[in-house]
């Protein structure tokens, strides 16, 4: 057993209103630069829909992720090391900017410089790539809210696969369809294909928190990672010639703050926390034969931090005490492993993604209510979950490689929670049958409800700081003998370094660490008492 820690995310899709706030704040933070105009580290796509970039999930075309070779070993779908080096002079399957969309601005000068006249001046779109006038024909969310579905909908790779595999036809007529939003960021995979694909070794997974980053100094612009990532979450900056990707807002995570997309999410639907996993088991889990077993296999990689054996091993492997404690309180672990309502996105790509999703119950509730039944009654909902084959099959293609059972189980639990809580709200005593039907106790259901519906800031984000381990050592060294700088090789209390004040090594200012946490509590607490 080799214990490693991963900061993971869970999104509750029922709550996503498709407002794109997360995308916009992310863009303002990370990609509002020339060269990255077309890149959205966080994007929100409407499903069914082609996604962004167009049809990215069609790996027959884009060759992303891993596959098993004839001997059952993992290999990159885009080809082995030799093939990749031989084709390094032109990546044969790299999406061009047209597959994302051609970024544009408007010719605002025609507005400001327009002479006084009777007609309204129009600012025409100008391509940000060529500077020439262009027609706007596609964008990062062109098919938002099922826009243009009769034309584009059937090109959704998931819809195509359902058609081919189970013979289910997804309808796009207004009354017959269903939809939900799928916000996507980099999955910070346990078995990242982008890292494996990079010939320069510039992409790496951080050992402490599992965040996958691109070293901008080491990247040489070979673009293999763009192909390697099956989620197409690596973007090539066409000005600097370097690959860039979602950073999981690591500077914020390091000091215990949630990512920008989580912090600004209007639906408050994102959860962040630590998961412990066994790094020795990852490859085996990613190479199970049947795609439908990948979800269970990945669950098997996660470790239970309440198990003393695991805690011992974690400590042996250098995981800080705060992290182990954070893993026990992790909302992400509760949603993934305890309640088993969160599911991975496209596990069949075999990268072991670490941003998981709670499938949306709302298409089901809506269908039941639209048919004139009580959409909050457990019996009706359970029945509908079984009957609504098409949405369930669609979700299964997204989250469990086509196996409807885990999706159904997850939705059943959400339905049971809905009806149990409704009883409580109406002052009835729930008889526990709804909870029992999904194998949970009423207490568990209420805890789950607390996490999903109340979802206080502190419950949603349990992020140990990167420096916590270091900070504790600093505090300890500060207290007993008076001087925090009196450690081995430190400059000691001499005050100034060799070249005057502030020269030499500096240490973390302890006071500001402390007031930082006090301030944070004041800013984020839901309790007015904390505000003083």
């Amino acid at each position: 057993m080799r214990v490693m820690a991963q900061i993971a995310m869970v999104m509750n899709l029922d709550k996503c209103i498709g407002c794109h706030t997360c995308s916009v704040t992310c863009k303002q933070t990370w990609t509002n630069r020339s060269g990255m105009e077309y890149a959205w580290f966080n994007n929100v796509e409407t499903r069914p829909g082609q996604g962004y970039p167009r049809r990215y999930a069609d790996q027959d075309k884009w060759q992303g992720g891993w596959e098993l070779d004839r001997r059952g070993r993992l290999k990159l779908k885009q080809g082995g090391r030799l093939k990749k080096l031989l084709t390094i002079f032109g990546n044969p399957v790299q999406p061009t900017v047209q597959d994302y969309y051609e970024p544009w601005t408007y010719d605002y000068r025609t507005l400001t410089d327009a002479p006084l006249g009777d007609d309204y001046p129009v600012a025409g779109p100008r391509s940000l790539l060529s500077g020439k006038p262009m027609d706007v024909k596609w964008s990062a969310n062109w098919d938002d809210n099922l826009g243009g579905m009769p034309e584009h909908g059937t090109r959704d790779p998931v819809v195509e696969r359902m058609q081919a595999e189970v013979g289910e036809k997804v309808r796009f007529a207004f009354e017959q369809t269903f939809m939900f939003y799928l916000p996507r960021i980099c999955e910070h995979c346990l078995n990242p294909a982008c890292v494996a694909a990079c010939p320069s070794g510039a992409i790496y997974k951080r050992a402490e928190d599992g965040i996958v980053l691109v070293d901008q100094d080491d990247c040489r612009g070979w673009r293999q990672c763009v192909t390697g990532c099956p989620y197409k979450k690596i973007y090539f900056n066409h000005r600097t010639g370097k690959a860039e990707k979602c950073t999981f807002c690591y500077p914020r995570i390091e000091v215990g703050l949630p990512t920008v997309c989580s912090e600004t999410c209007v639906g408050r639907l994102r959860y962040l926390g630590v998961l412990l996993y066994d790094a020795d088991k990852v490859t085996a889990a990613a190479s199970v034969q049947d795609e439908k077993d990948l979800y269970e296999a990945q669950l098997g990689v996660f470790l239970d931090p309440d198990d003393p054996e695991v805690r011992r091993a974690a400590e042996r492997d250098g995981i800080a005490y705060d992290w182990i404690e954070a893993a026990r309180r992790s909302p992400v672990r509760a949603l993934i492993s305890t309640y088993r309502i969160a599911l991975p996105l496209h596990p069949e790509f075999r990268t072991m993604p670490m941003v998981w999703y709670i499938p949306p119950l709302s298409p089901v509730v809506e269908a039941v209510s639209a048919a004139g039944h009580d959409g909050e009654q457990a019996g009706n909902l359970f029945g509908a979950i079984d009957a609504l084959r098409i949405p369930i099959a669609y979700l299964a293609e997204l989250f469990t490689a086509g196996d409807p059972a885990p999706v159904r189980a997850s939705l059943d639990r959400l339905a049971a929670m809905r009806s149990h809580m409704r009883d409580l709200n109406l002052g009835r005593t729930p008889d526990g049958s709804a909870a029992g039907a999904v194998g949970m106790t009423p207490e568990q259901i209420e805890e789950m409800y607390h996490l999903l519906a109340i979802a206080k800031y502190e419950d949603r984000y349990v992020i140990p700081t990167a420096a916590a381990g270091d900070a504790r050592r600093l505090e300890e060294s500060a207290l007993p003998d008076g001087c925090s700088l009196d450690y081995e090789d430190g400059p000691g209390m001499g005050g100034d370094g060799p070249f005057g004040a502030d020269s030499g090594r500096k240490s973390l200012p302890l006071v500001s660490v402390e007031s930082f946490h006090i301030m944070r509590r004041r800013q984020t607490s839901d309790d007015p008492g904390d505000a003083q």
């Binding site: 060529s130 050992a207 100094d217 612009g221 070979w222 673009r223 050592r473 240490s507």
Partner: protein
């Protein structure tokens, strides 16, 4: 003049190459990239770029063979001067033509595709002139002084001169009678070598051969200096270690 061109310039070029690479590595790793334009246009690039790169690699191999493998070695494995000439003529011309065809397509693409053209810097244009120019020069020099039966034997003049550079006693006289086309080609070539570190050509030094030898997934630790620069204190040993 001869001493300047054939005795000093090679060393200047070499110093510029090595010094420039060191400088670039130390101060501008961020700019060290292929600056690929494949996101703009992929179809033509996927034909032209491999064509050019494989062509130019073959040309490079030919130069190494011609300049640094003495005629006596090839004689020793039974390749006659005429045989060598034919190989060098046909294989060399083929490689040169491939490289030229590739680079002409690349230049055409660069000029006609608006986004690609907009992404072309002055530095790139400057470099392209010398690169294209020198490939053409080299091919003309070769073809102008060759026929099927015989050709200019640079392995008696240019090659020994090139090798003598390594002994730090350049045999400048050897370059005296060399046809002008070859001389120009050599001078421009040395200039190209000198500017490699300062142009996008620098990406030739990052051919990622290490990829064959590393595990697929790379882990790195957060730089501990970024937060609290305190080394862990000596203390109790960790359990199980």
């Amino acid at each position: 003049m001869d001493i300047l061109l054939w005795g000093a310039l090679p060393y200047v070029a070499f110093a510029s190459l090595v010094g420039g690479l060191w400088w670039r590595h130390k101060y501008d790793q961020f700019g060290w990239t292929t600056r690929s334009s494949e996101v703009y246009e992929s179809t033509l690039l996927n034909i032209a770029s491999p064509l050019f790169h494989y062509g130019i690699l073959a040309v490079l191999g030919g130069h190494l063979l011609g300049l640094f493998v003495p005629a006596s070695w090839t004689d020793a494995i039974g390749i006659s001067e005429h045989g060598y000439h034919l190989i060098s003529l046909f294989a060399g011309t083929l490689a040169g033509v491939l490289a030229i065809a590739g680079i002409l397509m690349l230049v055409y693409r660069r000029r006609t595709n608006a986004p690609v053209f907009r992404a072309t810097t002055g530095n790139d244009k400057f470099m392209y002139v010398f690169l294209v120019g020198n490939i053409v020069l080299g091919l003309t020099a070769k073809l102008a002084h060759s026929s099927i039966s015989s050709g200019y034997n640079y392995r008696e003049t240019i090659a020994p001169w090139a090798r003598s550079l390594f002994t730090l006693q350049p045999k400048v006289d050897l370059m005296n009678g060399v046809p002008l086309a070859y001389q120009v080609h050599a001078v421009v070539g040395m200039f190209l070598i000198a500017i490699v570190p300062f142009t996008r050509l620098v990406h030739m030094f990052s051919l990622p051969l290490q990829y064959f030898f590393r595990p697929y997934v790379v882990y790195r630790s957060r730089d501990p200096k970024q937060l609290g620069e305190v080394k862990p204190r000596r203390g109790w040993e960790r359990v199980d270690s």
